[in-house]
Subunit: 312 residues, 2 copies
């Protein structure tokens, strides 16, 4: 655990010796800007959820775009979420709970709306990958080997990124982690939740929820429409006045939104050289503003670059 900060110290001490007229050190933004097109991966619109809220008080549109977690993770709940979106189940429901430095939560506030048929009851074992899943053995090994040694973690034996998503491992399982913007499945004490009640994290990463609640996606556009909502003053941050609920007009899969063009996003491939450099630079800022590079970074502070592809 002492390796990385020592590295950081070395960098600090070395800094004054670095050439004065060397080229400007890279920034995370410059690394992303320099990434070749081949280092970006398209996100299938079918793997997006587009949630349209009622316009705000100024009449401005509010749209939140969520990317769903890829297989093999959390697919029981992700499948339910696809079913719910196709059934237009969320239309007419609301964002009904907002807690500062915690979550914004939506679904059926009264929990009286009948659910569509075909939802799975998902076992707790799906909070993480199954041990021995051969497709994931390499990922377990990669994370445990701390491919990016900057990513020490108090919550696991190793963290890293796979297909553009942050994960952690205990050397047997791999699980998706809760970061700012992560979307998870609200549940009661004795269930794993269906996916009908969802939340987005709007504060410091609540990593204690990892493996205790299903992570099913992340907000990739429009998080501000959730993070700026008034905080609830009722029990557990639920809006005590129903008038405060934020109406959900519709939730559609990205390939089923009526407007064209469909939303197209891409992420910086986490197995690319650009991504590796991006993590290193974020962990060791040496551009002019920074006097002391941190020498490390936590997995949720990496913030995978994702961008909207402009329509032609």
């Amino acid at each position: 655990m002492r390796l990385l900060p020592t590295l950081a110290l070395a960098l600090v001490l070395a800094a004054p010796a670095a050439a004065q007229d060397a080229p400007e050190p890279p920034t995370p933004a410059s690394v992303v800007a320099a990434a070749p097109a081949s280092d970006w991966r398209a996100i299938d619109p079918a793997d997006l959820l587009v949630m349209t809220l009622a316009p705000d008080r100024d009449g401005d549109a509010r749209r939140v775009v969520i990317q769903l977690l890829p297989a093999p993770f959390s697919q029981g709940w992700v499948g339910n979420i696809r079913t719910l979106a196709k059934a237009r189940w969320w239309d007419g429901t609301s964002v009904y709970r907002v807690v500062d430095n915690w979550v914004a939560q939506w679904g059926d506030a009264d929990e009286t709306k009948p659910l569509p048929e075909g939802l799975r009851e998902v076992p707790e074992s799906e909070y993480a990958s199954l041990p021995g899943d051969s497709t994931l053995q390499e990922l377990v090994a990669d994370l445990a080997a701390a491919e990016y040694p900057e990513l020490f973690d108090p919550y696991s034996l190793g963290t890293g990124h796979w297909n553009g998503w942050p994960f952690a491992t205990d050397q047997r399982h791999v699980w998706p982690v809760h970061c700012y913007g992560s979307v998870g499945v609200a549940r009661s004490t004795d269930t794993t939740g269906t996916g009908a009640e969802l939340y987005a994290v709007i504060g410091h990463a609540p990593r204690q929820l990892d493996r205790n609640i299903a992570v099913v996606g992340r907000v990739i556009e429009g998080i501000e429409h959730l993070s700026t909502l008034p905080r609830g003053k009722g029990e557990a941050g639920v809006y005590d006045d129903e008038a405060l609920r934020v109406p959900i007009v519709s939730v559609r899969l990205g390939n089923e939104v009526p407007e064209l063009p469909q939303p197209v996003f891409e992420y910086l491939a986490s197995d690319s050289d650009s991504f590796a450099e991006y993590v290193r630079v974020r962990a060791n800022r040496k551009d002019a503003f920074y006097k002391v590079p941190a020498g490390g970074i936590d997995v949720c502070n990496v913030q995978v670059p994702i961008r909207r592809v402009p329509s032609e």
Copy 2:
């Protein structure tokens, strides 16, 4: 670095063997509720800043209470902030920059308002304690020894709490860390800032700013009046429309607010048994909702308990 997660694994494996009819496991809330009065420390109103914003659109009052960092940390800037508050310098300025998952920033948006006399120019060396400060040697040793082994950290050689505040060390210096709610001194590339332009963190802990920007305090009440503000759409998240600026009515030291009673808060002493138990329980949740205790916690997720003392 592998110790703690192994411990976590042990806890998981042991859990089913734990008695079924044992008393309900403690929660962070139950630990705080059970803490004796002697484990709480009063916060001197003179160490608070009370920032009153203009009422919101519904006419509701907006007040933000900030606790200033205690000596010997960041006292150059903290002294400037006291001077600025006594000069009523912030009255009539505004919150003018809000960036999602980053900061809300206030002061003189146009940077034309003359500063009061007597502000210090603070050297970068004050971002952390001076090596050899004898009052802090014990703290350095405590943090480096990882008094709470749950607090592994990718950004330092050790983290922990002192007088109710989160700190990190490289085994020579100790520095206050950036967490959700932390208040810091905005600056340009070539200065350390006066303290006139301040920001509060409203997202995941930006620990890369540690030792690069002065931490001078933390919001202990009313953070929602900053975190829910509209995000700025101008350069670097500055409000591009001046009409969006949120007027600051006044900023006063807590012992100089005109209203009585003065605000009185207290924090759970970080050298108390209650605090140690609180950290352990937060890192190892075993109450009914949690299926897998995390086995660790990052320093910013500890969230030091602070409460307002009801006026008699």
